[in-house]
């Protein structure tokens, strides 16, 4: 389903303040999620006008986290849980985005074992593929 563009993504994430690394969760279904974010100059992962590799990876992790947050909050009527990156594998970054560019990030759920989610991710800028790879995210109930 396509989601209300006015929905506040901060309600879906455990990260807060300047560490929020997506602007919007745009689409969500049983096996995937899509987010978008425009790189702004005051982003903590921007150095000069370059959005760092670390920022790209965080953007992917939060796309998956927002999907879990949406399901946890609006479908299961529970709380937004904290998730950690457990593993990153076969991950390629072609280039770093620059300020003003809009990232479209899609994650596909490749598997789910207990509370660990395996995702295959793809980040594009105007349909140019700039990063892709796989990631495992572990969700925990209490900190």
């Amino acid at each position: 389903m396509d989601l209300n563009p006015d929905m506040n993504v901060r309600e879906l994430l455990p990260q807060q303040g300047r560490f929020v690394m997506i602007d919007r969760l745009r689409h969500l279904d049983e096996t995937a999620a899509v987010s978008s974010m425009t790189v702004k100059g005051d982003n903590i992962f921007v150095d000069g006008d370059v959005f760092s590799e670390a920022g790209i990876i965080e953007n992917i992790a939060q796309t998956a986290a927002a999907r879990m947050g949406y399901i946890g909050k609006y479908i299961n009527r529970g709380e937004v849980k904290i998730g950690y990156i457990g593993e990153i594998k076969n991950f390629v970054i072609e280039r770093c985005p620059r300020t003003g560019e809009e990232l479209t990030t899609s994650v596909e759920i490749a598997g789910e074992i207990f509370s660990t989610l395996m995702v295959q991710a793809k980040v594009t800028v105007n349909s140019e593929l700039i990063a892709h790879g796989s990631m495992k995210i572990a969700v925990i109930d209490t900190p």
Binding site: R18, I85, E87
Partner: protein, 124 residues
């Protein structure tokens, strides 16, 4: 964003054969820990990647671009209050203009993360 001298500080560096080991101090009062996560400070996994990148840059004395992650594994979350001082060991080899960096993040017997990444040089 540069994390060095802000999010972390280098306390010591020691070279042993083809390995270099840094001892670093995390700033548990850094604003990143207020947002990640509120009331529950945890060193973000991506900041560990960035830290390894900056220590590799310091060691090689050149700017790097993270081109490929073969595998990064996080075994245990780092709470910066409980683990203010941590060690990062680097093993760097060059091949065809790319740098293979194998890193381990640990304190005493605890291994927090293990990273295998390939960097390219940034042309200035």
């Amino acid at each position: 964003m540069k994390l060095r001298d802000d999010f972390f500080r280098i306390l010591a560096a020691q070279t042993c054969q083809d390995q270099i080991e840094y001892s670093i101090r995390l700033d548990s009062g850094h604003s990143i820990y207020r947002d990640h996560f509120p009331g529950n400070p945890v060193t973000p996994g991506v900041c560990i990647i960035q830290t390894v990148k900056e220590l590799s840059e310091e060691n090689l004395n050149r700017a790097l671009f993270l081109h490929r992650i073969a595998r990064v594994r996080y075994f245990k979350a780092i709470n910066p209050v409980d683990n203010e001082i941590i060690n990062v060991s680097l093993n760097i080899s060059e091949k065809d203009g790319y740098y293979n960096v194998n890193a381990r993040v640990f304190a005493d017997e605890t291994v927090f993360a293990q990273l295998s990444m390939i960097f390219g040089s940034v042309s200035v």
